[in-house]
Structure formats: C-alpha cells, structure tokens
C-alpha cells in the first residue's frame, strides 16, 4: 500500500490532527483495518505509521487499492458466531497485513477465483436485520479495489450452516459458481458468473459438498459413503452416477476437507485421523490408499483431529497438514496445538509442528516454500508460520468476532 502525496494547504491541519492522535482513523477509513495500537489515552502516535507518516502527511484522503493477488493472498471469513452481519478480511499472507474487508450477511460462504481475478461470497440478508424478507445473493468483488463487480440474485435457498468452504465453490474456469441447498431436499445451485445470472437448481441425491473436477462436472460425498459425480449442461440439466462406498458407516469424515481443484486432489480426514485421499483429476473418483496420521501409540494417548478447518493440502509437494491434539472423543470441534504433516501418496509422516497456540483452522499457500496459516477463533488472530520449520513469521489480530474460515489463493 502507498500513501498519497501531500499538499501544503492541509498540512497544518493534518499535523494537528495527527498530534491529536486521530490520524489512525483516516488510515483505517482508507485502507481497511490497520494495526492501530493506540494506548488507552488515545494520544500516542500509532507506532506503525512510522517516520514517513509523521514527516510526509497526507492531505487528500483517497480510497486505496490492494495489490494484485499473489500466491500469498488469503481471505479470512468471520461468521461471528452466527451473527447476521459478518466480514471477510483480505489479508496479505506474507506478513498478515489486512488489505481490505468486505461486509457480508448471515453465514456467508466465501470463494475466490483460482486465477485471482475475483473473490466473493454467497450471502443472505433479511429486510429487518435478522427477520423479515429473506434475500440470498452471490456477490463478486474486485480483489484490488474491493468494489462489487457482480451482484447476482439467487433463490432463497442457501444452506445456512457454520461455514464449510466446499459448500460454495467456483468452477475451474472461474466462469460459474455452485452452491449447496439442503432443504427441503439436496440441490446444487448453478450460477453463471461470467454473465452474472442464476441458471438453475440441480437435483442431487442425498449427498453433500461440491468438488468441481471440470467446468461441467463436480463430485459430492453421499450419505451412503459413496462419491456422486454430477455432470451438468449449461441449462443445469444433469446426469448423476455414484461410486461404491469408500468408507465405513462408523468412519466419520469431517465437514471441512481440503481440496485442490487444480490437482483434483481431495484429502478427507476422519475424526480419528484417518485420511482418505480421493483423486478426481481423471474425471472419475479414484480412491487412494487411506492412511492414519496418528500412530497406534498416539491413538492410545488420545491424539485426535480437532478444529474447524483442520486440514490443508499443498498441491506441488503432496503434503497433507492436519490439526491434532490430545483430546477426548467428541471434542473434535475444539482447537488443536499441533500440525502433523504427511505425504499424501505414502502416508508417511514428514514432520510435526508445535503451533504454540490453540488453533481452529489451517491453510497453506500454494507457492514453493509455503506459508502455514494458523487461525485462532478464540484469539481472533492469524499466525503465519514457515511450513517447514514451523517457525512463527508473523501474526495479525483483531480479525472480527470469531474468524473461522480461510481461503488461500490457489495460484
């Protein structure tokens, strides 16, 4: 981010304002949330303004732009513990700096184009905040200016649930969007992002989540333990096939699997830390050999998966990152303090990272030396770690009321 040049007329005014300790408000207004760390008196100059701010004061406030998204662009959604208004923060995943923010309605589902060309959310608002007429819509934002570039009305049918990233997703070509409907019967809504219009609802079997494998096909996970493949036309007419069940009835697959659309690789842990790799890249579901993240001994010591978004996958290295900790059974939504890194093909453990914090959600950047993003809902804080050494690189706090979901750009 850059601060614009000054003019002499207003210099004095701004200097006075700055000395009065309110300049940070200007910056917050222009650039989203800054790391304001004013003391209780409000009189201190915010330290992050640095020498430049005190010597080269802005005179003309402008609306800033974020830089173009790169591999370290991160979107963090705060469902705010089921509040009717929510936020999604645009974050620079290098240093955790908040670049911008969009407002959302109830239990928004964030999404981001794989090429970085847009991001957005499926959202729901009501005419009287939390009551009155319901209105569901898809809004698409410019990732630099954070201006709305499309607002697409959809039927009032979104699945209102604690945010699962794969309940709303763009297609590989970024031209369409698919969203899940739970009631009264499972359906998937098809939205034409390119032409900014809702297309149709697609009837699907008793299946959940949406993993696009092509621009006209996606997979879902069904109640009977199978994967359904849904191939659809531009008009939304679909053909559906179902695989054989690939896991047992007593193996509970978590709500927030990791999926690399570019690799067609789905990584799906159970509560007990068994990973089911499913390769969708061929257009058919190929079930890899499941492996256990925890050793027999660790399982006896009550090591289990836990968190909101406890798994991440790095495409090029095939590394699977899984949040785990020692915990009682049925505490699988509690945060964890460790990440276990395994190879998706061999199942072999590569390393174990001590996060040092209670972490609810993780993500990794898809570049060569990936960043490991660790989000604490309780602390409302993002920790950025080196995914190899586990060393903490940076952190950002004040991320809303209860941030839970991260979408890392899949560049």
């Amino acid at each position: 981010m850059t601060h614009n040049s000054t003019t002499s007329e207003t210099l004095k005014k701004y200097r006075n304002a700055l000395l009065g300790g309110v300049a940070s408000l200007v910056l917050i207004g222009a650039a989203g949330v800054a790391n304001a760390q004013q003391g209780p008196s409000g009189a201190e100059v915010p330290k992050q303004l640095g020498a430049q701010a005190t010597s080269e004061l802005e005179d003309t406030p402008v609306i800033l732009s974020a830089p173009a998204p790169d591999a370290r662009r991160l979107y963090i959604t705060d469902p705010a513990h089921f509040a009717t208004t929510t936020r999604t923060f645009t974050v620079d995943g290098n240093d955790g700096k908040v670049l911008g923010m969009i407002d959302g309605g109830f239990l928004t589902n964030p999404f981001a184009a794989t090429d970085g060309s847009y991001f957005g959310q499926a959202s729901t608002v009501y005419s009287r905040v939390a009551r009155g007429k319901r209105d569901d819509y898809i809004e698409v934002y410019d990732p630099k200016s954070h201006e709305v570039i499309a607002d697409i009305d959809i039927p009032e049918s979104r699945f209102l649930v604690g945010t699962y990233p794969w309940m709303t997703t763009v297609t590989p070509d970024n031209k369409s969007l698919l969203f899940y409907q739970f009631t009264p019967s499972p359906q998937v809504g098809l939205v034409d992002i390119e032409n900014k219009k809702f297309v149709s609802m697609i009837d699907v079997p008793d299946c959940y989540h949406i993993f696009p494998s092509a621009n006209d096909a996606f997979f879902m996970h069904c109640r009977d333990g199978s994967m359904a493949k849904v191939t659809y036309g531009k008009d939304g007419k679909a053909e559906i096939t179902q695989s054989k069940p690939f896991h047992g009835e007593e193996e509970y697959l978590i709500n927030t699997p990791a999926y690399s659309m570019k690799a067609g690789q789905l990584v799906w842990p159970t509560y007990d830390g068994k990973i089911f790799p499913v390769d969708l890249s061929s257009g058919e579901a190929k079930f890899g050999t499941p492996f256990d993240v925890f050793t027999e001994e660790e399982r006896k010591d009550n090591w289990r998966v836990g968190g909101w978004q406890p798994v991440a996958y790095h495409r090029d290295s095939g590394e699977v990152y899984l949040l785990g900790d020692q915990r009682a059974k049925w505490t699988h939504k509690y945060p964890s303090r460790f990440v276990f890194v395994h190879d998706v093909k061999t199942g072999k453990r590569l390393r174990k990272i001590d996060l040092g914090h209670d972490i609810d959600s993780i993500a990794v950047s898809q570049d060569k030396n990936p960043a490991l993003y660790a989000l604490s809902t309780g602390e409302k804080k993002l920790y950025i770690l080196d995914s190899q050494s586990g060393k903490e690189v940076s952190s950002t706090d004040e991320l809303g009321h209860g941030p839970q979901v991260m979408i890392a750009h899949d560049n």
Partner: protein, 406 residues
C-alpha cells in the same frame, strides 16, 4: 356375502373357544374360583384375567351381540391381526362389513391394542383437543366406545341397549356372571345390563394382552436386542423430523417404555377421500367426513377435517392406513408426507395409483406447521422410517409383517 360372513363367524367361534376356552367354566366354579385365573390368551404369554375381564372376553367374541348373530367385536377387531379386520371386502380392507348384508363402514377399523391407554377427550386451554376414542374422539373411554358398534346399523346393528340385554339374558352362563359381578338386580333394568356389558368389554380391552410392550422397540429399550443400522437411523429420523411433532406423547413425560407414538392430538393432514370405500359406504359423493367436527361432541368448525393421531404401535401389521384406509402400504403412508415438503414432481404422485394424491377431503384446518416445515424425506429415510416403524410390532404379530415396502 352373508353366507360367507356366517361361515367366518363360525370359524371365529372356534377361534374364540381355542383362545379363551380355559375360562369357560361352570358357573359354580366361577363363583367359587379365586379372583385370578391363568388364562392363555396368546401363544406368547399367560395373562391373568379377573372375572370381569373374563366376562368381557366372552362378550368380545360373542356373535349373538349382533342383530343377525353374524359378528362379534372380534370379527372386525380380530386378535390374530392386532385387533383389526383382516376380511376383504369390495373395498379391500379399507373399511369393514357390518352384520347386515351390504352394510359397510366409512372408516378403517383401528387396532384396539393400547387403546385403553387413550385419555378421555379433553379440551385444553390453548384450544387443543386431545384424547377420546374413535377416529373422531367421540367416546371418552372404552366403556362408552363399546356401545357404539353394537348399536351402529352399519356394524353389529342391534336396535337398542335393551335388545343387547335380551341377548345376554339368553345365555345362562352370562346371567350368573352378571349377577355375580354387577349385583342380583342387574337384570331389573336393561340399560344396566347394557352398561355392565360395556364395562366388561372395556375391562377385557384394558388387560395386558392389549398392551404387552414386547415389540422389538421395547426389547431394544430393555437392552435385550439391538436395532439394525437402518432401524436406528429410522428412529433418529423419526425423532428429529416432523413425525415427532405429532406421533409423540404428551402423556408419558418422556417415559419411552410406555411410548405410544401418538400425542392423542387431532390433525388434518389433508387426506383425499378413499373413493371405493366412500362409494360402498353409501354415504354419497357429496358426503364430507369432517372428523373431529363430524359429531355433536365438538361443534367447532375449526376442528373440521381433523382426526386423532393414531398410535404407531403395530402399524406395520394394521394396514391399510389412515382413517379411511386409503393407502394399502405403510411405505405409501410415509411417502404421503413428502407431498408437503418435497420439490420433486414425483412427490405429488400416489405410488399405489400412479396418479396425484388427490385433493384433501377437507382443505381447511391443515396442520401446516407440522406438515410443511422442514425437510423432504429421501428414499433412504423413507426406508429407514419404515424399518423403524416395523420395530413397533408386538412380538405376537411379527409374523404378520409384509416385506419392506409391501
């Protein structure tokens, strides 16, 4: 048809003798007998019957209490069929044939199992009406209810209570028993005899034979057996879907072991007329069965079209279903509810007819909240619900269960 009915009546007599033969004792023996006798009333259990219950049992199986002596309570409430009517008429088993040739009812004969646990018709402060016997709740208790069929021209067809008393007086055994149980002057007033007979019938229907609580569901609760995965899923669906809004008790206060799977409330679920049964009943095409509002006991038009929520115990063996027997299969009865929630066009079709379900006989007063709130049932959940409902079948009727979906 009459000959056939008589023949069935004969078979039934034999059946009755076989079932309660042991209690037909010489009058003197009854007079001097201890109050409790071991009476094998079913293959699975011995039930101790008090004298009044024994008398009720005899009356229950006695065809002399119908005008042409062709049918008893047990003719339509056959104990071998969970006290429902297994006889096929021109309308299948939807409605029952009466004592008079050609006489047909307009409502399905319900099970008597667990009926003695039905509370009396009660109007609550919140406007809800619960309890009562018959599909429309017009009788407060079994004693009151017992008189209905004896005097109904479409059923046992006796002209009045006095003629029932006369039939009872014909039987010397009865005379002794009635005096023993109801006093020496019981025959001084025919209405007293009629009342006493109804009382004895109610006593019999209140015995443990009618509420054994020995279904698989009960056995699972007692830890003796386990649900299959499908049954357990069905139970979960039942307890979390809209079913439990009506088919759950307000009575037991959470005591699952005496759960009857009814709130005893009245609801209009928008059922269509059963055309064949209606035609045979002779009530005419203009007739509307307004349920709770059809008699004089509830005058409120806001109750029109509502029927009592039936117990689901033994539901798998007591088809056809609903107050008019309109659906042959249990599965169809479950699928009917999808009419209100599913977006699928197929959900508007009765799978038994291949045609739309048909307009509600009474389109007003639908239980919209209970029917339209929430989710459609997937095929698997329908199957699971059926599997669960089958576990509510008492042990001695388990052999009657048709295959799933049949």
């Amino acid at each position: 048809m009459k000959a056939e009915t008589v023949a069935r009546g004969g078979a039934e007599q034999n059946n009755w003798k076989r079932r309660i033969g042991v209690i037909i004792l010489p009058a003197l023996a009854v007079l001097t007998a201890p109050l409790f006798l071991n009476v094998p009333t079913s293959a699975s259990q011995n039930v101790q019957l008090k004298p009044i219950e024994q008398l009720g049992a005899r009356l229950f199986f006695d065809t002399n209490l119908s005008k042409n002596r062709t049918q008893s309570c047990a003719t339509c409430h056959n104990p071998e069929y969970a006290f429902t009517d297994p006889r096929e008429s021109a309308a299948g088993r939807a409605v029952s044939m009466g004592d008079e040739a050609g006489a047909m009812g307009d409502r399905n004969t319900p099970t008597l199992m667990y009926s003695h646990m039905t509370p009396p018709l009660t109007k609550h402060e919140n406007g809800k009406i619960t309890g009562g016997l018959f599909w429309d709740g017009r009788a407060d208790n079994l004693q009151e209810q017992a008189k209905g069929p004896m005097l109904n021209p479409l059923e046992m067809n006796m002209p009045d209570g006095a003629s029932v008393a006369e039939r009872i007086r014909e039987n010397a055994d009865y005379a002794v028993l009635f005096k023993q149980l109801f006093g020496d002057d019981v025959f001084s007033d025919p209405e007293k005899v009629f009342d006493a007979a109804a009382q004895a019938l109610a006593a019999y229907q209140s015995t443990a034979e009618f509420s054994p609580f020995d279904s698989k569901y009960d056995r699972v609760l007692r830890g003796e057996e386990k649900f299959t995965s499908l049954e357990d899923f069905g139970r979960q669906v039942f307890l979390t879907w809209n079913c439990q809004l009506c088919h759950r008790p307000i009575r037991s206060g959470g005591d699952l072991s005496t759960e009857l799977f009814t709130s005893f409330e009245y609801h209009n679920i928008g059922l269509p007329v059963n055309p064949k049964a209606r035609e045979l009943s002779g009530k005419g095409s203009d007739y509307v069965d307004t349920g709770l509002n059809s008699g004089t006991h509830v005058a409120d038009p806001a109750q029109a079209g509502k029927f009592k929520v039936a117990t689901l115990r033994n539901v798998a063996v007591t088809g056809p279903y609903m107050h008019n027997g309109v659906f042959d299969k249990l599965r169809t009865s479950i699928e009917f509810y999808n009419k209100y929630t599913s977006l699928q066009p197929a959900a508007q079709i009765n799978p038994e007819t291949g045609k739309p379900w048909g307009d509600a006989e009474v389109p007003e007063n639908l239980s919209t909240f209970q029917l339209k709130t929430g989710l459609a049932l997937s095929d698997y959940r329908i199957k699971a619900l059926e599997a669960f409902l089958r576990t509510l079948t008492d042990k001695r009727y388990e052999h009657l269960m048709p295959e799933m979906g049949q």
